[in-house]
Symmetry: C2
């Protein structure tokens, strides 16, 4: 899911997002409640209408972002009071108000309001936090208005502790949700520990409901997540990297600010059908970033979203064919091999000017 | 002509520029020679190929921009030596090198290298400068390589002095160009003096060749220019205004940062078919600018270019119908009337969410 924090996937029109093959995007409750405000989004006809995205939209609950505010927030059993990063004004989120706000935004998939502790943390702190999140999950479910075509996901917490994750899954499945997210990962524990946690968590989840790993990740994280039974991901990586001149390709990443691209007439990737790859050279993209032109971030974001979507399509096809075990090591070997040489991917002759 | 200074119309993909109806865009010799460099553009297949614009491209000669550098440049009879605004490095432009660079860029329309004095200026200074520009025009023509589908425009100088403008036109038409530009205006003299200068300059120009008023202007400037016989214009106004939240409409300009748009569900204009007007509300555009999201400048630039193109199409149609004398006062009255009231242009009901 491309991330559309405040009602826009940064640097992209929604037509451009659609063209990458994306079917669902994410919005952020925390950002949208502060600006333009949930009630204002509702008056605009909801988030779909406001941002011009007719497909499904998942909204996070604000829990993760509020926790990231550190000293600016105060937690109690009922919810969280925090200060806006924009103007310092005081706001409060509870399971009930977060759910109500997501309803006002018209989120297709509403997320439970949870507490997300940073890792590493003591098992005691993780247990306490998970238990609080489970009580909040029950209250979030209570506040959710079930309706055709809409759903709510519970969020499994418990850090890297196997028994806590198991207890969390039991608590959530007892309540019953349309899908289940795995929260509290990609918060500093590293890929190895994240995968180890997935290894014992995903088998506990209902097989026929969506599993969503929150805030993940690199192409390699996505592949490893799918191998461990995850269906959905969201991450700012492809969009944020695009704005900072980093391109994801089948052969690892490229930094387009690097002088080695200044005269390279090749597109970013020979396999990509995005606007950047079908119409422009690396040399032009390098120029746009050197000149600090908005089109550089736009084209690279476009490319990265197209790459992420293509990667997921490839993985999905391999699952259906039963060939994921063959595909996965090939993908990893290609990422590790580094950029195509000129022999592997020759300089194209520029087409004649019309 | 939308302005594509360094090989991109700021904030826009070329598909977006095309969708506004633009048929020709402008590039800047000064900017492109410094970055990415003329030779590099040539290696990329020329400016059309580099920026993905198959239609005609007009390049200015660098004369105007170099003159704007003030203390950073030194003028002699042969050309101008100047320091780059990027890194201070020393460069030189002459009529020959400017023409050669525009050839390397593959400009469809090459402009003569001229000197453009700021106004007001003494008649002596204007005469001297005009005579220099005319000698440079002859040298620019000499350096130009005539070829099918390409042309070169001379630039009429002489400030606001009638006899100087007449002498300049004579000098240029004696040399003979594919079209004629009127330079040295919109440099501080005000609209009245600009129109007065056009009144005595355009009648001197060959009737069946294009006339291009450089660096102009507001919608009202364009209308007044056409009424005085001008065919072509270029200006950063629609693009620059778009990046600073200002929208041009049939009813004057709007500042989208203004709080009065925060809950306005209407599009910018009821007459516009651009992406901003067909899919988004003023309230959303206001939000994008408040949140400093890139999509705000993109959508408003898109709208402004669409408005400028629509204005010129409307004017062209009126010329063909012989109704420009009726249209012009109506356009001016509407610009002066200010934004549509809610009665004139009711709030649309947001369409249902799919």
């Amino acid at each position: 899911m491309p991330v559309g924090t405040v009602g826009t996937v940064k640097g992209m029109t929604m037509d451009a997002v659609r063209s990458t093959g994306a079917g669902i995007v994410l919005g952020n409750t925390y950002h949208l409640m502060l600006r333009p405000g949930a009630e204002r989004v509702r008056k605009m006809g909801g988030l779909h209408r406001m941002m011009d995205w007719p497909g499904p939209i998942l909204t996070d609950s604000g829990g993760f972002q509020v926790m990231s505010l550190g000293a600016l927030r105060k937690l109690d059993a009922d919810g969280v009071t925090f200060n806006s990063h924009i103007d310092g004004s005081t706001h409060r989120l509870t399971p009930e108000s977060s759910t109500r706000i997501q309803h006002a935004l018209n989120a297709t998939i509403t997320m439970c309001f949870d507490e997300c502790p940073a890792l590493p943390a003591t098992p005691e702190r993780l247990a306490e936090s998970m238990e609080l999140s489970m009580r909040w999950a029950a209250r979030s479910r209570e506040a959710f208005v079930p309706r055709e075509g809409y759903g709510q996901f519970g969020i499994v917490q418990g850090g890297t502790e196997r028994d806590l994750r198991a207890r969390s899954v039991r608590a959530l499945t007892e309540i019953g949700f349309e899908g289940y997210a795995i929260g509290g990962l990609a918060v500093g524990e590293g890929q190895e520990l994240m995968f180890a946690t997935l290894d014992f968590t995903t088998p506990l989840l209902p097989e026929r409901q969506a599993r969503y790993l929150m805030g993940v990740g690199t192409p390699d994280d996505l592949l490893g997540g799918v191998e461990r039974g995850v269906d959905m991901f969201d991450c700012v990586m492809p969009t944020r990297a695009g704005r900072t001149a980093r391109a994801y390709t089948e052969r690892g990443t490229l930094n387009l600010r690097n002088a080695r691209h200044a005269d390279d007439l090749r597109p970013l990737s020979p396999h990509c059908d995005c606007l950047a790859c079908t119409r422009h050279s690396r040399a032009y993209l390098h120029h746009l970033f050197r000149a600090e032109e908005m089109l550089g971030p736009t084209l690279l974001t476009w490319h990265n979203l197209a790459y992420y979507q293509r990667l997921m399509r490839t993985i999905r096809a391999a699952i259906l064919d039963g060939t994921l075990p063959d595909l996965a090591p090939r993908l990893r070997a290609h990422w590790a091999a580094g950029d195509w040489t000129e022999d592997e991917f020759p300089q194209p002759i520029p087409p004649p000017v019309p």
